[in-house]
Amino acid sequence: MSQVENNRKFDLLITGVGGQGAILASDIIGKSAVAAGLPIRAAETHGMAQRGGSVVNHIRIGEDLGSMIPKKGADLMLALEPMETVRYVEFLKDGGVIIVNTQPVIPVTVTSGLAKYPDVSEILDVLSEKYIVKAFNADELAFEAGSKLAMNVAMVGALSGYLPIPKETLLESIKALVPQKTIEVNIRAFEMGRRKVEES
């Protein structure tokens, strides 16, 4: 069954919070993979978890079997929120790459005083011991690009250099999937995100 060459296989996790646009980010990558002629599988969180809960999407480029990444199997984690990185880190292989948006989304358990949000710099320090961490504030970057809502696309830009998919193909998918009026802002966010990682 499995006929894809290993060098074009890429297992990616997208983690974050319901409402941050993890599904659009995964759709951009999925659509691009199909355009690039690669098989793709993905698993998403719907339903209950959408209501501001924690979400994780598995995306397997070059995979023609199941959609679930084995533990310690992911090549890269794209984390839209810093604390959610830690919740799913067991899926990332040792020495894997984490691209993380440093802007926290505070859960109700913290605002209501039931729990404490860990220090973001401490999260990054702990993760850096075992993984390659690329951290920046993608909310601010997207705001600079023209809209905070483009955060997810800025993150896809940051990821783009690692994907076995040409940049142009990703840009075409973004144009097809985001609302017409926001194409320009999203393309700018993508480019800024991409540069952020290239520079680091």
């Binding site: 199909v34 993905a42 698993a43 719907h46 339903g47 209950m48 959408q50 809960g53 199941g66 679930m68």
Partner: protein, 600 residues
């Protein structure tokens, strides 16, 4: 060139139904099945009938009517929906069909969004009907035209059972053609088939049993089961449904020498199982939830007198709970071969704040629960039901949740048991129409002294905003009668019915007080549109801000639990974030008038 598209499993399933020439589609929303009807209702070139029914039993019967008229029909639901539809379904197996009928029942191993993780394959065994168990979204799509043909060939309903990872998985999908020609309906008056009098039912039971072997033989030849014998291999692996791809991936990755049988339909292909059993010393059965294949393999081995060790759930090698994955298969191998591989430590020691799903900012349910708790107090008993509002467990007003519609009947049972504490239950508008109505009728009839709160947010929100009989439009957006909850409750005999706006705390609390005092079954209908569908419909309210000069830092607004209200520990002052939807409830809670409408 073939067409390939990246799509959600449920969108691929919707496509498969079209490629199978479906003509009538009915269902009740339920995760993970809902997007199938959502997808088909949105198509512009519809040449089929489609509806959201009021519950699964009704939906099943609509599909049966269509199939008895000779056209292809499907009924969609989540696994627990089949419990509601089980009454027509069990006897339908006897009566059979003319047009193909697919009961599309989506299972939810691990209870991602469900109250249990029952295995629908058991229902297939119970009802003696064939069941299809896809391993990928592509296979799911491809199976559906086959399932329709199979149903028509044997004149029997079939179950199609995707799981969460199929329905909510995404994949590149190769599309097929959609047929243009479809048969015209023609209801034949076959009374010995359609009238299940005892004399007819007995004959139909005999018939149902007589077609079991031909069904099994036909399925064994189908593309959904395949056996790869590896010469010299002593181990056989049987994978069923989605578990088969996890097992396959592990076998390929590790280069394990094993023969492999993939099962995708039931009754299981006895012929292929026997062929495998004859070549190996041990067989590992890998399937999610119930040991259905495993039990069959044991029976087949015993009947054939084969000495093969059968490894699976019974001897603890595979879990009978939750979903499986590649890692679960590796753990199974670890146990079977006693590899003593210590799992490597993963993760970190960082302490994380839990992030449970919660009601949206401005959700009217939170406001209703706040007032309910204020009036009824902490000693009252709060049965509740299934919907977004089950998240009211965080407000202290959800103390039972069993199944759709059960809140009112459980409240009645508590009352009739002799509970002296006040009882106030809650149920959503769609759940009330689903099966809450008969519970209310029963409560009134049998004089239960309880308060029933209908959380009327004008939509079926939890599953993705599907219409119900209270909203005034159908699945395709066509205008229809808007059934009045208040008139309905009055007609069923409720002596106290009050419709209130939950955003007006004084108004709803007065209604709750009166309902609490009322002797008999009282109904409070808390009406306010869901904030998500409201926003989509263009409802814009003025937002609120905190005046730091007036804020005393008492945190009463923070305790309300709205995600839009945060507290600045440094300034000792509440703040309202961009999540605010302008409901204004926190402004009414504030005793210092520190929360005010933002000036435009």
């Amino acid at each position: 060139m073939t067409m390939r598209e990246y799509m959600l499993g449920n969108v691929a399933i919707a496509r498969g139904l079209l490629e199978g020439g479906v003509q009538v589609i009915a269902g009740y929303p339920g995760t993970p099945s809902s997007e199938i009807i959502d997808t088909l209702a949105c198509r512009e070139d519809r040449d089929y009938y489609i509806e959201w029914s009021v519950n699964e039993k009704v939906a099943m019967e609509v599909a049966v009517g269509a199939a008895w008229a000779g056209v292809r029909s499907v009924v969609t639901m989540k696994h627990v929906g089949l419990n509601v539809a089980a009454d027509p379904f069990m006897t339908l197996a006897y009566a059979g069909t003319k047009g193909g009928l697919i009961a599309l029942v989506a299972d939810d191993p691990s209870c991602h969004s469900s109250q249990n993780e029952q295995d629908t394959r058991r229902y297939a065994q119970f009802a003696l009907v064939p069941c299809f168990d896809p391993s990928t979204p592509q296979e799911a799509k491809d199976m559906l035209p086959y399932a329709f043909e199979f149903s028509e060939k044997f004149e029997i309903p079939v179950i199609f059972r995707p799981t969460t990872r199929i329905s909510h998985g995404k994949s590149d999908i190769e599309l097929g053609d959609i047929p243009v020609e479809k048969p015209a309906p023609n209801f034949e008056k076959l009374l010995d088939r359609w009238v299940m009098l005892p004399k007819n039912a007995r004959l139909r039971h005999t018939h149902l049993l007589s077609i079991q072997q031909p069904i099994e033989d036909a399925l064994a030849e189908s593309p959904w089961n395949s056996l790869e014998l590896k010469s010299g291999a002593n181990l056989g692996v049987i994978g069923a449904g989605i578990a088969s791809v996890y097992a396959k991936e592990a076998i390929v990755e590790l280069g394990i020498e094993a023969s492999f049988l993939k099962i995708g339909s039931y009754p299981v292909p006895k012929k292929l199982i026997l062929e495998l059993l004859k070549t190996v010393d041990a067989v590992l059965v890998f399937e999610e939830l119930e040991p259905i294949v495993e039990e069959q393999v044991k029976m087949i081995a015993q009947e054939a007198g084969l000495q093969v060790s059968i490894l699976g759930k019974a001897n603890g090698f595979v879990s009978r709970e939750g979903e499986l994955d590649v890692s679960a298969f590796l753990e199974t191998l670890n146990k079977v071969f006693d590899l003593k591989i210590e799992p490597e430590p993963t993760g970190t020691t960082l302490e994380l704040a839990p992030r449970p799903p919660s009601l949206c900012a401005g959700c009217s349910h939170r406001a209703t629960f706040y007032s309910m708790r204020k009036v009824f107090g902490k000693d009252a008993i709060y049965p509740s039901d299934i919907g977004c509002y089950t998240l009211g467990i965080q407000s202290g007003t959800v103390e039972t949740t069993l199944c759709m519609g059960s809140s009112i009947s459980i409240a009645s049972g508590l009352y009739h048991a002799g509970e002296k504490r006040p009882i106030c239950c809650s149920i959503g508008d769609s759940t009330f129409f689903h099966t809450g109505m008969n519970s209310l009728l029963n409560a009134v009839f049998n004089k239960a002294d309880i308060t029933v709160t209908i959380l009327d947010n004008r939509i079926t929100a939890m599953t993705g905003h599907q219409p119900n009989p209270g909203v005034g439009f159908t699945v395709t957006g066509e205008p229809t009668v808007q059934v009045s909850l208040a008139e309905l409750c009055k007609a069923m005999g409720a002596g106290f019915v009050s419709v209130v706006d939950p955003y007006k705390l004084e108004e709803i609390q007065e209604a709750f007080k009166a309902a609490k005092e009322f002797k008999g079954t009282a109904v409070v209908i808390a009406r306010q549109p869901c904030v998500i569908s409201g926003k989509r419909a263009g409802i814009r309210k003025i937002l609120y801000i905190v005046d730091p000069e007036k804020c005393e830092g008492c945190k009463q607004c923070v305790k309300f639990g709205c995600p839009a209200v945060e507290f600045d520990e440094e300034k000792k002052c509440a703040t309202i974030t961009a999540l605010c939807s302008g409901c204004g409830v926190c402004a009414q809670i504030c005793k210092f008038e520190a929360i005010q409408e933002a000036k435009k």
